[in-house]
């Protein structure tokens, strides 16, 4: 009985004392939060549209690469059957396809990373992790393709892979500290200047179906 009485007293005391636990220092900042909610909802609607176009582009790039791989394998088979030696650095159709895919990819990635830096400065960045994942898939396809036979291209693709992995792991644009570290890393590795110098001058040669 005494025990129950003590427990009740404790519960009452605890309830009073606990009112000081995590007391908000001010009233809810209504206007600030409302503005943010409206902005994020508008961005969310835009993100759906943007996401669709990125998915289409990713599929198109992957298709181009797969065609390249197919042509490459077919060429190797044909040459083996003919008894012709398979030379590296060939200028066949497959090499051209890889080159086109790589150029498109580099152009897209340059646009993406430039936008990433600009949007971070403006406090935006919600859509980046998803887009980075799309580009990452293409990066890895290219790393496994003859496009990466060139040492400079391979080094660039590896740098890009590292940057894209970091962006893809950001938490829905809220990871400000990580984002700053990523941009510092990009600067230290001269990623954007290297990327720009790797893109041939002039317009991107091929616009595949579905690319925007």
């Amino acid at each position: 009985m005494m025990m129950d009485n003590d427990e009740n007293k404790f519960d009452q005391w605890l309830q009073d004392a606990a009112k000081t636990y995590n007391v908000p220092p001010r009233l809810a900042p209504r206007e600030e939060m409302w503005a943010q909610i409206q902005a994020e909802r508008a961005l969310g609607a835009r993100r759906v549209v943007v996401r669709r176009s990125w998915v289409r582009w990713g599929l198109a790039a992957a298709a181009v690469l797969l065609v390249g791989i197919g042509i490459g394998r077919w060429t190797v088979l044909q040459r083996s059957n003919d008894g012709t030696p398979v030379a590296s650095g060939d200028t066949t159709g497959s090499a051209l396809v890889y080159q086109l895919a790589a150029t498109q990819y580099l152009s897209r990635t340059e646009t993406f990373l430039t936008g990433f830096r600009a949007d971070l400065r403006a406090g935006r960045g919600e859509a980046f992790p998803g887009q980075a994942r799309d580009l990452l898939a293409t990066t890895r396809l290219l790393l496994d393709s003859p496009a990466a036979d060139d040492q400079r291209m391979r080094a660039l693709l590896e740098d890009l892979e590292l940057v894209l992995v970091q962006i893809s792991q950001m938490e829905a644009g809220r990871d400000r500290r990580n984002a700053d570290l990523i941009t510092q890393d990009m600067d230290q590795r001269n990623v954007l200047p290297k990327l720009r110098s790797a893109i041939p001058a002039g317009p991107v040669p091929v616009r595949t179906q579905g690319a925007t």
Binding site: L14, Y21, N22, R30, W34, Q36
Partner: protein
């Protein structure tokens, strides 16, 4: 205005109704988020996320419970998931600091009741702490807590009882205060 009318207007895309719904519930949602997160920036993020999800999913609200209960269900889900991510992030930072040889000097515990109480509540298992904060601090009923957390009312009661027992143990030094 009747809540059902308000919901119907929001569903029909009425911006002023959205704002009215937000105004009617934001203070409670924010306070709950703050009590659970203990951080202003996180509480704001969680509140915003709650309303973004609520507006997006309002069509799925069937009206079986009060709108406030439905909103608090979203709030607790958002907050508890968010806190898990924050905890993982802090653990990763702590690992990095340890790898760098930085010794994060543990703060000496102060004999102050307020500080000790906060530490004791923070140290509760997540489920106990959530029920304790919602019931003993924010005044939710066990039925409301049950709906919000997706547990039986009896589970909520049992978790509260265990939370209090743990706190009684942790705060034994202050026994004089409540017995007096």
């Amino acid at each position: 205005m009747d809540e059902r009318d308000l919901i119907n207007r929001v569903r029909a895309g009425d911006g002023s109704a959205e704002r009215a719904l937000y105004d009617a519930h934001v203070d409670r949602v924010y306070r709950l988020a703050y009590r659970l997160a203990g951080d202003e920036a996180l509480a704001q993020d969680f509140t915003q996320e709650t309303f973004i999800r609520a507006f997006a999913k309002l069509d799925t609200f069937r009206g079986d419970s009060a709108l406030s209960t439905w909103l608090h269900t979203i709030t607790t889900t958002v907050v508890l998931n968010g806190l898990r991510k924050v905890k993982r992030f802090h653990r990763r930072e702590a690992d990095l600091e340890a790898a760098d040889g930085v010794i994060g000097g543990r703060r000496e515990s102060e004999p102050d009741l307020k500080v000790r109480l906060r530490e004791a509540i923070d140290a509760l298992p997540q489920g106990y702490r959530t029920v304790f904060v919602m019931h003993d601090i924010e005044g939710f009923t066990h039925e409301e807590i049950g709906v919000a957390l997706g547990v039986e009312t009896g589970t909520s009661k049992a978790q509260l009882s265990r939370a209090r027992a743990k706190l009684r143990e942790s705060l034994a030094d202050f026994a004089g205060e409540w017995i007096a």
